[in-house]
């Protein structure tokens, strides 16, 4: 009976794990030095408390073709990147030589 319950529990946990996004399965703090690597080739970045025990990060990165883009991501307390490894664009990416720059990054109360 115990064995049956255990199999059922494991099956249920497995199904739940399949439903979770990939980024939430792997705790990012488990890297060798206890850090989470957000991106490569960062030109500018800023950090901000998210009020939920995690942090916002805004960063500017260099893409192929010297395209500079701004991305925002959230990291939860477990070190997961909540918006995926690439983050989300917050202003339009433009390939016309526009160089974005983060002027400020701050908490904004909901309307």
């Amino acid at each position: 009976m115990h064995s049956t319950n255990r199999i059922l529990t494991l099956t249920l946990l497995f199904c739940l794990a399949l439903l979770l996004p990939l980024s939430q399965i792997h705790a990012q703090w488990s890297t060798e030095d206890g850090s989470v690597v957000v991106d490569t080739h960062i030109l500018q970045f800023d950090l901000l408390e998210d009020g939920e025990g995690g942090a916002w990060i805004a960063y500017k990165r260099l893409m192929p073709g010297r395209l500079e883009v701004v991305r925002v991501n959230r990291i939860d307390a477990e070190g997961n990147l909540l918006f995926g490894p690439e983050g989300i664009p917050v202003i339009p990416d433009r390939e016309d030589g526009t160089m974005p720059y983060i002027l400020s990054f701050m908490e904004s109360l909901p309307p």
Partner: protein
């Protein structure tokens, strides 16, 4: 959050604003909002100097920007939470008659939802600090000249706090300490001249600083991180025509050799966090320490050590007593990944092996001291181990029994522990010699050296 974009082909740029929900929804849509009412003509790569933006407390923001080639012509743009612009025409801080220098300035949210600004006024070498306030409709409270609130010199930092009774409290931080001034509701100043002076710690140059006013206790909390990594915390209170400085005065000094300034200071309810760059045995470290409010390092002589080959350091509290600490690491292949550490309140890096969390660093010496000379007796070459609490030139001189100088070298040292190789010249005879180490603070120590041939 606000973003500027600089278009290099036609040399114009705009300020964009975006709001993001916790779920990642772009509230202003994928195109964001342009906050400034004008296209700001800029030289390529010439970003606005010392930009500042503040939340309006209701989901919108105010942002400061200046016109191309006119670092004395600054505007304030405003955007509401729904993306609409606050002003039909962005108010300009001053008219076109100069006087507004390019030194740092700050925006402050007012009690009616308007925005205040302090700036350095510089006219033909005469400098003071001016204050201007713009009401939500864009109307200015003072004349085009603003209100002179601190003179006759400039301040590194100015903080403005709106008190519950309508008064405004100014805290100026300058080269010799702090001055506090109160602007009454009838626009008169509570104190004469430039306000009450509080000396505090005298910084060698503009330090990082925070001034926080506690509305309930009416206490002003001042935290400084001067360049030499001394961290000070002062709690003061206005008491009639005096400043009560008896509340709290703490002075933290890192216990290791400092090679960079304390780059970050975060205050939680119970603790202060500091972060300092240092070099030990040719390796660079960034060391994080947690200080309690009695001024003691919570982790003792152990420090959280983080990779130091970094260009940028940003930190944010996690709201749980710990903090997030972000650095951009510089790799040898010139990739620049940003690494974020989660530092828990107990000083542990989340996800890091608990046995290698903290490194112990030797305490900084408190005096000049010769620790050992080896070998002694020597046949010419020997090594002297010494400690110094002073940064500067250190002279190593060897004298014979007649007081004649037979060897003389110098090196620059920071406070710390060192080994120095020395040798007695072959032309001098065997016998007893004296090694003298001295520094520019006129401290000196002697040690006998026996020279055997």
């Amino acid at each position: 959050m606000t973003f500027g974009t600089n278009r290099i082909d036609s040399t114009w740029w705009n300020i964009y604003v975006q709001r993001i929900s916790l779920e990642g929804e772009l509230i202003y849509g994928p195109t964001a909002k342009v906050v400034s009412a004008r296209e700001i003509h800029q030289l390529p790569g010439d970003y606005p100097r010392n930009p500042d933006a503040i939340s309006d407390g209701a989901g919108g923001l105010y942002a400061l920007y200046h016109e191309t080639g006119r670092s004395d012509r600054w505007y304030i743009a405003g955007i509401n939470a729904d993306g609409s612009q606050k002003f039909e025409q962005d108010p300009v801080v001053r008219r076109d008659n100069g006087g507004l220098s390019s030194k740092p300035r700050k925006l402050f949210l007012g009690p009616d939802g308007g925005v205040g600004i302090t700036y350095e006024y510089d006219f033909e070498g005469e400098r003071d600090i001016r204050y201007q306030y713009f009401h939500p409709d864009g109307g200015r409270e003072y004349t085009w000249d603003g209100l002179a609130v601190f003179y006759p010199s400039a301040a590194y930092h100015t903080s403005v706090f709106h008190l519950a009774d309508g008064k405004r409290l100014f805290v100026f931080h300058h080269s010799t300490g702090f001055n506090v001034q109160v602007l009454e509701t009838d626009q008169s100043f509570l104190y004469d001249f430039s306000g009450l002076k509080f000396r505090g710690y005298r910084p060698p140059s503009a330090p990082s600083i925070s001034a926080i006013f506690d509305q309930q206790t009416e206490e002003i909390n001042l935290v400084q991180c001067p360049r030499d990594s001394i961290i000070t915390f002062n709690k003061i209170r206005l008491q009639g025509n005096e400043i009560d400085t008896t509340l709290t005065t703490l002075r933290f000094r890192e216990q290791f050799n400092i090679t960079g300034r304390a780059s970050f200071m975060y205050e939680s309810n119970e603790f202060y966090y500091s972060s300092t760059k240092t070099r030990l045995n040719t390796n660079n470290y960034e060391l994080v320490q947690l200080w309690n409010k009695k001024g003691n390092p919570v982790w003792g002589s152990k420090y959280l050590s983080l990779p130091i080959q970094s260009a940028v350091i940003k930190s944010s509290p996690d709201g749980q007593g710990g903090l997030y600490h972000g650095i951009v690491e510089i790799y040898s292949d010139l990739t620049l990944p940003v690494k974020i550490f989660h530092i828990l309140p107990e000083g542990r890096v989340d996800g890091r092996d608990s046995t290698s969390l903290m490194d112990q660093f030797p305490p900084i010496p408190t005096t000049l001291k010769i620790t050992s000379v080896s070998p002694n007796p020597t046949n010419g070459e020997f090594r002297v181990s010494f400690a110094t609490d002073h940064e500067g030139t250190h002279d190593f001189r060897i004298y014979n029994l007649n007081g004649q100088l037979v060897q003389d070298i110098s090196r620059h040292c920071q406070a710390g522990n060192y080994d120095q190789s020395l040798n007695l010249p072959a032309k001098v005879s065997a016998g007893l010699y004296f090694l003298r180490i001295s520094n520019s603070r006129e401290q000196s120590k002697y040690m006998k050296i026996v020279y055997l041939k």
